[in-house]
């Protein structure tokens, strides 16, 4: 049988970065094919070439055995290739039906066409057991349901080859399981699925074949049945990865942060956080698990001073944090930093760094008032020395203080942010999604650093949507759903199913 897709010696460069180099592999028809690799390994570029966003510098692409030159995504769709992006491409205030029709409205008379499309959608939903109401408005749907709409869109456009880019990043364990059910049904119907992910567990669970990429090249192609997580991880990184990082025995000190009855409402009065209460002690890592968008970000914003709570008590180091009497949070993060609260923000490009500042300038970001000479101007000599020391200690590459930080890879940017916050020697460290968009090698380095802080007696509050990460770092786990704490457990009680249920809003005892 002809393979559904065949890449032959595909190469693609962006400036000095060789994103794909001589990539060759085939994807069998009717299979689920995993493509894994660290960030920047070239997976996304390759898929963008397949979907017509980019054009390969050299090499050949064959679809169903025919050489194809796909120049636009419309051509890709016409060839039966569909893509479900990590960030959904849906119009929030339109219905499922309208979203599916968008781009194929079928002439001026919408109404008659709409009825026909609705009928077809209901058929598809029944056949693939997609639980979606065609007349529901997107903004009312859960993230999992929105993803099903994306898939529905592709099926409606008669996609034979479906590309899924990190599809489970935003899903709970249960939602992931039901997505996999759908994918298996898809496969049974003879369709081909390309799954791009960095979660090895999922690769093992659902794929038939795996292609491993590193630095733009294919470094391994194996049948899933013949491999293991460890082997795949080693291939991805190119060196063995420690599965368990060393940590001192759990021995928490005095409470550092006490949150009680914390409430947050938005301008419209919608509750974003309700009755949040927990205690964090010195020398422990408490991880907040949950699907993103369930109040974790807001909680971190409040604790770092970026946002005011509606009501509630927050005590840090025995004293109430100075929220009282304020009408806005303008400038409050500076006060919190002064008190000894460090913050690694979730969205580093939005909050954590100034892309157009140099690496050196970013190492004092938020602490710029601490590096003045007696004239009140910057002490550039001290800043330079400090920066060089940090770049060496945290192995930032390239270790060039004058480079614009925007030119660094995500992982190295994150190392700069963590180096900066660690070097301020906080008592409480707020860490949001520390390894989002960061490759495995760097994850190990960042985790090591956080554990070192914990062992040194810093209280760490970690927000992560990656259960792997929670498991690797946490002493205790708090699960949040819908702005509430739905459960709390010790690391010994770690249980994916139970956490998944709590993340879905189910209270368990």
């Amino acid at each position: 049988m002809q393979p559904a897709v065949e890449f032959r010696n595909i190469s693609k460069a962006f400036g000095r970065v060789q994103a794909n180099a001589d990539v060759s592999f085939t994807i069998a028809k009717g299979s689920i094919h995993g493509v894994i690799g660290e960030n920047g390994a070239g997976k996304s570029t390759l898929m963008s070439i397949l979907y017509g966003y980019y054009h390969a510098d050299s090499g050949q692409l064959l679809i169903d055995g025919h050489p194809r030159n796909i120049r636009t995504s419309n051509e890709a769709i016409a060839l039966g290739i569909g893509m479900v992006h990590q960030h959904f491409m849906l119009v929030e205030n339109m219905t499922v039906l309208d979203n599916v029709m968008l781009g194929s409205e079928g002439g001026f008379r919408l109404a008659s066409h709409r009825a026909a499309v609705e009928k077809k959608l209901r058929e598809i939903c029944a056949r693939y057991r997609l639980d979606v109401d065609p007349l529901a408005t997107i903004s009312n749907l859960s993230v999992g349901a929105q993803q099903r709409v994306e898939i529905l869109k592709q099926i409606y456009r008669s996609a034979e080859i479906l590309i899924l880019d990190e599809p489970t990043a935003v899903l709970t364990a249960q939602e992931t399981a039901s997505l996999f059910e759908i994918l298996r049904l898809f496969k049974e119907q003879g369709k081909t699925i390309i799954l791009i992910t960095h979660k090895l567990g999922e690769i093992m669970a659902i794929t038939d074949q795996v292609t491993v990429m590193r630095a733009g090249r294919v470094v391994g192609a194996v049948a899933t049945a013949d491999t293991s997580k460890e082997q795949l991880a080693n291939m991805m990184v190119g060196r063995p990865i420690q599965s368990e990082l060393p940590r001192a025995p759990f021995n928490p000190g005095a409470p550092v942060l006490t949150v009680d009855q914390l409430q947050l409402r938005d301008k419209a009065g919608v509750a974003l956080l309700s009755d949040i209460a927990f205690t964090l002690r010195a020398g422990e890592i408490v991880a907040i698990a949950g699907v993103s968008g369930n109040g974790q970000s807001e909680l971190m914003e409040i604790l770092s001073g970026m946002r005011l709570p509606t009501s509630g008590q927050v005590a840090f180091d025995g004293r109430a944090l100075p929220f009282a009497g304020r009408t806005d949070a303008d400038g409050l993060p500076a006060t919190f930093r002064q008190l000894g609260i460090g913050h690694v923000p979730e969205d580093r490009l939005r909050d954590g760094v100034i892309k157009d500042f140099s690496v050196e300038q970013n190492t004092v970001f938020g602490y710029q008032e601490r590096v003045k000479n007696r004239w009140g101007l910057f002490d550039f000599k001290a800043i330079g020395q400090r920066c060089n020391a940090l770049l060496t200690a945290f192995d930032v590459r390239p270790a060039d203080p004058d480079l614009r930080i925007g030119l660094l890879s995500g992982g190295n940017q994150q190392k700069v942010v963590i180096a900066r916050e660690v070097s301020a020697a906080p008592k409480l460290m707020l860490v949001g999604q520390p390894t989002r968009g960061v490759d495995i090698g760097t994850i190990e380095a960042i985790h090591t650093e956080l554990l070192k802080m914990r062992d040194a007696g810093v209280a760490i509050l970690l927000v992560s949507v990656e259960l792997e990460e929670v498991r690797a770092l946490a002493d205790r786990i708090i699960v949040m759903s819908g702005g509430r704490i739905t459960g709390e457990l010790n690391i010994e009680e770690f249980d994916t199913t139970r956490i998944g249920l709590l993340m879905g809003g189910m209270h368990t005892s």
Partner: protein, 360 residues
Amino acid sequence: MKITELPRWATAVVLPLLNLLSALLVAALVIRLLGESPVESMGILINSAIINPEGLSYTLFYASTFIFTGLAVSIAMKAGLFNIGGEGQMYFGGLGLTLTMLALDHTLPGWLLIPAGMLGAAIFGAAWAFIPGYLQAKRGSHVVVTTIMFNFIAADLMNTLINKLVPVGQQNPASRVFTDAAAMPRLNTLFPILGDTPLNLSFLLAIAALAIYGLMVWRSPWGYRLRATGLNGHAAHYAGVRISRMIVVAMLVSGALAGLAAVNSIMGSTHYLSLNFPAGAGFIGIAIALMGRQHPVGIFLSAVLFGALIQGGFDLSLEKPNIPQETFVFIQGLIILFCGAMENFYGPALLKLLNVGKKG
């Protein structure tokens, strides 16, 4: 190895020069169409604006005003604010200066009177920028819109206010002439070669302002916070910057600098307040900030360029009757077009050229 970004020397020197040359090329074409020789005209322009000492001193006199208005736009731009209101703020600065003078020029000696006048100019300019700044910070009303409106309001207000300042029996819609104590010391007392020139102490103050601007924006934590706010408000908030205060302060400083531009025009030259005395200097400040990339050296060079165009263009129209005086406005427009709107026109080509050069 391919390079993806232009090196600094290319963006700071080569690109602006290419843009300037393009503008001059188009200008040459127009002069050709007017029936004059572009080479000869350019010769006259350069001679009268740069080479002749008296001409040069006029060029620098105009440049002194432009440095202040250019700085005003630049500092706001660094905070991410596009202050179009330099014209109105300068106008108001002139009012503040004049009110101070009218009140004090018979009582205070010069060494006190001049700083007092500068203070008056800075305060009034800042006050006129405060309202748009406050509205931006607290209400989110865009400064581009409000400062444009405030230019019109300033112009109309002055049309009314000037009547209160015109001395009895005077036809000219202007205030009375200040006493000699209010005159900025002229530089030709030190350098007689400059001839009969209005070039005055303001030029040295402008240079000092450039230096302070450079120091504050790039070497102080305040400037760091200012630039952070301009580049990424979210991150600046994370870093603890009081964003709304930063916006207001940036607008105050911007307005004060625009107000100070009036010192050169009024205390340095006319010695009285007249209607529409800024004559577009506030708007030229925008071009200077864009062309000079908000860098002190760039601002200085652009201000001198625009000063030279005014001075040289004036002499050119006297010598060549075919070339109307408005030609310099036209060339100015071309420079703004090439240096502002088409700033990166040559960027990609230059990048390619550099890469080819590396391969060869």
